[in-house]
Symmetry: C2
Subunit: 167 residues, 2 copies
């Protein structure tokens, strides 16, 4: 794990200590095309409404739309490029909520918002802290299309000495 120790990580601008409860970050936007949606779905989610405009028109969605997993992957790309790559992130154990609230159509512009809703030391590792965040993606009509919530692990600049319980 030496790759993320201070002396070898000049790119780390934000450690666990620097992430503040209540902070809300705008993490950029992305505008997926129909071709990108079909390419993703062909590989990972080949359902008719993600592949074929004619079949999609007759579906519950009313038109060709992105695989929900494609939307998640696009959110992750914005997270990495505009946030995680500047931090001491060590990954995530998972999500406690993932909601696909609206279909994403070709040409929709999706912006990602990241809000820190909880922050605490990690019980088992004094060199790591946890941050619970809400990720929300909104389209150009300000409709929320994606809601995710879960913990991320971040290395601490200074390992803690406080006793903590739980995860």
């Amino acid at each position: 794990m030496t790759a993320t120790t201070p002396e070898r990580s000049p790119h780390i601008a934000l450690w666990w200590e620097d992430l503040a409860l209540g902070e809300v970050r705008a993490l950029g936007s992305v505008t997926p095309t129909a071709e990108e949606m079909v390419a993703f779905a062909s590989q990972f989610d080949p359902q008719p409404f993600h592949l074929d405009p004619d079949a999609a028109r007759d579906s519950v969605f009313g038109g060709l739309c992105a695989s929900g997993w494609h939307t998640c992957a696009l959110a992750m790309r914005l997270m990495v490029t505009n946030f995680l790559s500047q931090t001491s992130s060590l990954g995530s154990p998972g999500l406690e909520s993932l909601k696909w609230l609206k279909p994403v159509f070709p040409g929709d512009t999706l912006r990602l918002q990241h809000s820190i809703v909880e922050k605490r030391p990690m019980a088992k590792r004094p060199d790591v802290g946890l941050v619970r965040a809400v990720w929300e993606m909104f389209n150009q009509h300000d409709q929320k299309v994606l809601h995710m919530e879960g913990y991320g692990m971040f290395r601490r600049r200074t390992p803690g000495t406080e006793p903590v319980s739980g995860m």
Copy 2:
């Protein structure tokens, strides 16, 4: 939504009525390569431990591993090919749990298991039923690497007339 009405859907073998509480299905397996992991991560999750074997060796994961979103997408592909494509599936509102339990390394063989843990009519739509399922992916060492749980919506062969409350 005519695409999934009975008369126009000869491919539908399984309607909501046919999905039984407690059923466990083996939905095939997949063996992602390092090249596929790097290709996915380059597009959607460009963190060093998903892109660069040298950086990955020094990371918390100990070696190049798949983006968690890649693992989810691979599970979805098995779901669609080996299950959803034969059903009256209408999509999913999301997941209530998503856990990345172990890293997935190049050449790991991942098998997907799908278990139906709840089944009920949908309050607002008598033509649709809900199924709550657990998706579990195990590697060749029978270690669980991915756990997901959430609802899917399936069209009913025969719309219901029972009064239901809730979602």
